[in-house]
Symmetry: C2
Subunit: 210 residues, 2 copies
Amino acid sequence: MTTEEKILVAAREEFQQAGFGGARMQKIADRAGINKASLHYYYRNKEKLFQQVLQKDILRLMIPVSMVLRDPSLSLEQRIRTFVKTTTQLFMDQPNLLLFIMQELNRAPERLLNLVRDILKEHGLNDDESRTFRGQLEEGVKNGTLKPVDPEQYIASVLGMCMFPYAARSLVMELLEKDKEAYQNFLEQRQEELITLCRRMIFRSDEPED
Amino acid sequence: MTTEEKILVAAREEFQQAGFGGARMQKIADRAGINKASLHYYYRNKEKLFQQVLQKDILRLMIPVSMVLRDPSLSLEQRIRTFVKTTTQLFMDQPNLLLFIMQELNRAPERLLNLVRDILKEHGLNDDESRTFRGQLEEGVKNGTLKPVDPEQYIASVLGMCMFPYAARSLVMELLEKDKEAYQNFLEQRQEELITLCRRMIFRSDEPED
DNA sequence: GTCTATACACTGATAGAC
DNA sequence: GTCTATCAGTGTATAGAC
């Protein structure tokens, strides 16, 4: 692991935990096991370092998510399963990733939205709209295979169901009166249940069709 | 409006936007239209001021939410409707409230969880467990009125569906390719759709029963 | 490339006049 | 209660030796 990488890892931890304003260059240097001056040697200043970290994290979140939403090879059924699995895996691995991005996207939207758009454009190369999540939902509603639903409202719901318990971990923990261990358990069991619940909102039967 | 209140409003805006570390006492003073020294006259230091703001905001969020979850006078059907309506109204009014609390709850959980617990204890005086959201779901599943579901997983899902589009506003906006105005529209239409979707996950029919 | 030492700006907080 | 002036502490960033 190069010094450059060690710095990025250390910086990510610090930025995710403290936010840009609360993060301290000294702490990042400590975590990375180097001197504060070396930090400025690799990344000219705090802002540049932050940009690097944030860009990497946005990629880490947006690429898998937007891919699952648009991958033309997936059936509707498979897409739901894949979406649940992908997000669960991602946030089990990176517990603070989502909230960090939500935070910074909210703090300075104009600075980041162009970046996000480029990522979505570059990695969402599927131009067959009928083979996206949205397109499949639209078609299913039109021909009556699915229960009537606004595709975008449904997508937002799936996003919320999959992501919110990770982003709002402490809040949900308290509302459900669970401790850390019980909540971890809860999240692991959630995958199966999520698929069932997502299906029920649109499918006419609880039985899978493919 | 007293100076004290003006400060709290100004401080909330600044803290919500910049976080504790990024917030500047000077900016709070400017927003409140007073001098920086007066800030310290009313609230000894930054930390105290922050605590005041955060406590008020936690109350603003947790009281209505936990009340809807436990109010013994609500039927299951009514509870879903009320939950959707309450959260929608709250976040339309206070767009940054939820994300701010998620942020701070994540940044320093140990400092805030006791506060949250006290609030929940004080305002969740319903000791008839069978008349809570959880209790009603449990009973419905047991006697077959409802589709089989884990009550807590369902509650977490409803929370996510209602709250996530507000907390992750920019993220969802981009994934759905909407601008600010279109997204506002989307959120207004969402109320109706939310009730339908929440019902479908547990009720055997789309028709309301009461 | 990595260190020590230091410059420089900023911020939270206080003293004291009015 | 509200202001001006100012201090002390901290944090980013750089200079320069090795």
